[in-house]
């Protein structure tokens, strides 16, 4: 299947109104982009990503940030047809693009999905932070379970803030609509949406059959890294979940173990007190284990999980970039073959030459547009790639540091528990000895 079977008008939809606006922004930034759209160097960016447990998201890319978003207050929305959860999205902004400085709207998960797909359409080679998944099969969590809702809420909060932090994405029209419009439904109907998704899939199929003529080395390297990164993230995620499982089982056994000391103490006299002492040490350690598990679940697991999803996002981005390049190559080939035809046509027929010329000219324009598109896509990806790498490093580093710190804290607390027991016993035995000597 050659590129010629792709309807010409579909390709036109790629340059809609939204895109025009954004294209300007595109070209502004790409002039700066030598693989680094951010004014600061990666190193100073890292310095900015200092461990600040409270405002991690807000601090990333804080230089140009003027949109602050919070996602909270989940509420059940019950209607005759369905039940779903809505979240309150509050925006505070000083950006001149916004009419007001504060907005409050309610959004459901589907609305976030809409936003993400529009962003992907408009910025095919930018790396968009992943959304939490639709549902989590493995843990069989109910959709309306409190923990599930809370985990989702936090992930949605991160999602919006990452977009707000992004120099390009934060200027997206759809993003603004999402944050400001009371009712999203009318906006969701507009735009190519479904149609362009369809065409993208078709093009992807077409291009996968052709393959790319040549891939820039840097993107081949990127692709290889993305594949490896995806594997590693899955492994780390799996190991971490296994660790939590083992910790839980350990804690359950500790809960059975502590009471055996108390039960024994009931039938003892002198030994009762030290037995109870050990029993309560075990109890306190099991509480600390519980906290340790909670920390892992709230800090490391969500971060790793998001980067597993990120890996999939990256793969999709790379695919889309490849598609854009493939499309260009297809059209380019068509043009090349057309030219020789043209020469033949010129040689054989004199009539209809103008039509042919017009067609060829049009084709040439299309090829040039596609070439630009490839250039822009590549630059966008390059810029966003280094941005993503920086924040990935910061996020994972921070999550691991936090985990290690919590583990140190866990052991320090347990140490204190056992040491205080020891102190009480040493004091006791001193008394006993003194008593014995006296008698």
């Amino acid at each position: 299947m050659s590129g010629a079977t792709v309807p010409a008008d579909i390709s036109g939809h790629m340059l809609d109104l939204d895109e025009d606006e954004d294209l300007e922004v595109f070209s502004k930034n790409t002039s700066l982009a030598d693989g680094n759209p951010m004014p600061n160097s990666p190193d100073s960016m890292v310095n900015q990503f200092r461990l600040d447990e409270e405002n991690e998201e807000e601090q990333q890319g804080a230089i140009n940030k003027d949109i602050f978003v919070t996602v909270d207050n989940p509420e059940s929305h019950i209607s005759a047809i369905e039940t779903f959860i809505t979240y309150r999205v509050v925006t505070r902004t000083t950006c001149s693009e916004f009419d007001s400085s504060e907005y409050e709207v309610r959004r459901r998960y589907q609305d976030f999905l809409w936003l993400k797909s529009r962003l992907e359409e408009n910025y095919p080679t930018l790396i968009i932070h992943p959304l939490p998944e639709k549902f989590v099969m493995k843990s069989m969590v109910e959709r309306f379970n409190d923990d599930f809702i809370e985990t989702r809420r936090k992930a949605l909060h991160r999602f919006l803030n990452r977009i707000a932090d992004h120099p390009i994405l934060s200027c997206s029209h759809h993003f603004k609509v999402f944050l400001t419009e009371e009712e999203l439904a009318p906006h969701r109907k507009l735009g190519p949406g479904f149609l362009s998704r369809m065409s993208e899939t078709m093009r992807a199929m077409a291009n996968s059959v052709r393959g790319l003529r040549s891939k820039l080395e840097e993107f081949a390297v990127m692709q290889a890294y993305v594949d490896d990164f995806s594997n590693k993230m899955c492994s780390v995620d799996k190991v971490t979940n296994r660790i939590i499982k083992e910790h839980r089982e350990y804690m359950d056994e500790l809960k059975q173990y502590g009471p055996t000391y108390f039960q024994w103490a009931e039938s003892e006299e002198l030994l009762a007190e030290p037995l109870k002492g050990v029993g309560s040490c075990v109890e306190r350690c099991s509480k600390e284990t519980e906290e340790q598990i909670q920390h892992l679940s709230e800090v490391l697991v969500p971060t790793l999980h998001e980067y597993v999803l990120c890996a999939d996002t990256l793969k999709a981005v790379m695919r889309r970039r490849d598609n854009i390049q493939a499309e260009f190559e297809a059209k380019n080939e068509a043009l090349a073959s057309r030219t020789t035809d043209k020469e033949m046509a010129v040689a054989t027929a004199t009539g209809g030459l103008n039509d042919k010329e017009r067609e060829s000219k049009k084709l040439q324009e299309e090829v040039d547009d596609l070439a630009d598109r490839v250039e822009q896509a590549n630059n966008a990806l390059r810029g966003d790639w280094s941005r993503w790498r920086t924040s990935m490093r910061a996020d994972l580093k921070s999550a691991f540091i936090s985990t290690a710190a919590k583990n140190v804290d866990y052991y320090e607390k347990c140490l204190a528990v056992w040491e205080s027991f020891l102190l009480s016993q040493r004091g006791e035995s001193m008394e006993q000895r003194n008593g014995a000597d006296a008698s």
């Binding site: 780390v236 910790h247 350990y250 030290p274 002492g277 290690a404 140190v408 320090e412 027991f421 016993q425």
Partner: protein, 434 residues
């Protein structure tokens, strides 16, 4: 700790010394009366070795032997350093010694041996009797047994104990020649029968109930601890996977690579550290197992006293009924219904000569009976007194030993926490370099 116990026990042993003589202790001028064996002799179970040989039914078997070493204390005190005398003993010989002591001193709480088979085994711990860690712990347990016996005010004077420590060959035969086996068998039969005691010894019954409780509590604790150990092992080992994955991941990263790689090494170290931690905890488990077995020994002493009490009551009962028979014959008045009495009434009484003969026989039997009752009463009282004395001694020892065990356990936990702090602090430093 042993030295302290020895000092305290030698004070009480003076009372026991004359009785000890009648129970097969050494009448040897080498021993000073009233001091226990451990003061005169340094004892240890120094080594273990594997042996192969044909057993009683000519089947080739592999077994372990333990080296029992002894040295005279006075030589050591004088500053000489003589080489120890030594001999090899199998576990079964230790068992024989213990069984002999149990039969010979029914009112003494005889120290237990380390377990015959590995019990309360957590997943990765070997249940194999030939496993070197198991053998090592058994060696310690056997030494502990000998030290406890040799420092006991009563048991330490036993002749068979002394020969066990000094006479390599022919010791077993000597023990069998005492005929203790027959006593053991008849005791066992009697104890396994159900019998009810009319007036039980209050304190000893309480002690029996206490020992039942001690047995159930220690085994519950040991079982729970085993499961905890299993889970702890899993937690630590799973972190080893981080080591592998971080290492692989570091290969594809530039800036993060070094930090990840070194963090991975610490994760490996963390995973490896649990083996030593849990091996040490086994010693705590062994201390608890010792008292689990001790509980059985206490129970046995209480039960044997019940048996004595029962035999006394039987003898008393027999005496009473014989006296009643005498009264009936003498007065002709039947107080209680008996078939003999009925037949006498119905078919007439016997001739006076027969009656006199019967009366005389009864008088003899009554006299014997009274002696028996007197003996048994004395035996029972003595048994109760000695048993109680040893139980008091046992209780003190148990409180001290177990308190120390609990403290040691706390020390182990502290050591584990310190290691954990070290590893995770190191890991954190590596992550900071990511």
């Amino acid at each position: 700790r042993m030295a302290e116990d020895v000092k305290e026990e030698s004070v009480t042993s003076n009372d026991e010394s004359d009785l000890a003589a009648s129970d097969g202790s050494l009448n040897n001028t080498m021993l000073t009366e009233g001091s226990c064996l451990l003061r005169r002799m340094e004892i240890s179970v120094a080594e273990a070795e594997k042996r192969s040989g044909k057993n009683a039914v000519s089947i080739q078997e592999t077994y372990t032997v333990y080296l029992v070493e002894t040295r005279p204390m006075d030589a050591i005190a004088e500053g000489h350093n003589p080489p120890p005398d030594s001999l090899w003993r199998r576990y079964s010989e230790f068992e024989l010694l213990r069984n002999y002591l149990i039969v010979t001193y029914p009112y003494i709480v005889v120290p237990p041996l380390p377990e015959k088979r590995a019990e309360f085994v957590w997943h990765k711990l070997s249940a194999d009797n030939m496993d070197p860690d198991f053998v090592e712990r058994r060696r310690i347990g056997l030494e502990n047994f000998l030290l406890r016996v040799a420092s006991h005010p009563v048991l330490s004077n036993n002749e068979m104990l002394y020969h066990f420590l000094t006479k390599e060959h022919g010791w077993k035969e000597m023990v069998y020649e005492t005929g203790f086996q027959a006593k053991a068998d008849s005791r066992l039969r009697a104890l396994s029968a159900t019998f009810r005691v009319r007036s039980p010894h209050k304190r000893l019954v309480e002690m029996k109930h206490y020992s039942d409780g001690l047995q159930s509590h220690t085994s519950q604790l040991l079982r729970a601890r085993t499961r905890v150990a299993d889970r702890l092992y899993a937690v630590y080992k799973v972190h080893g996977n981080y080591g592998r994955v971080f290492s692989e991941w570091s290969a594809i990263e530039k800036e993060m690579g070094d930090g990840l790689q070194s963090a991975g090494h610490h994760m490996d170290a963390y995973a490896a550290s649990v083996d030593d931690i849990l091996e040490e905890e086994e010693h705590y488990a062994d201390q608890l197992k010792e008292y689990l077995s001790y509980a059985e020994a206490v129970r046995a002493v209480c039960r044997k006293h019940e048996l004595s009490q029962f035999e006394l009551e039987m003898a008393s009962q027999d005496l009473i009924s014989k006296k009643q028979q005498r009264e009936e014959l003498a007065t002709g008045i039947v107080r209680t219904f008996s078939l003999k009495g009925m037949t006498n009434k119905l078919f007439g009484q016997e001739a006076p000569e027969q009656r006199d003969a019967k009366l005389n026989l009864l008088e003899e039997l009554i006299a014997e009976g009274e002696e028996t009752v007197k003996e048994k009463t004395a035996e029972c009282d003595e048994h109760a007194e000695k048993a109680w004395a040893d139980i008091v001694r046992f209780k003190d020892q148990k409180d001290k030993d177990l308190q120390e065990a609990l403290i040691n356990y706390a020390l182990m936990q502290i050591s584990m926490c310190k290691k954990g702090i070290q590893v995770w602090s190191n890991a954190k430093e590596c992550f900071l370099k990511m």
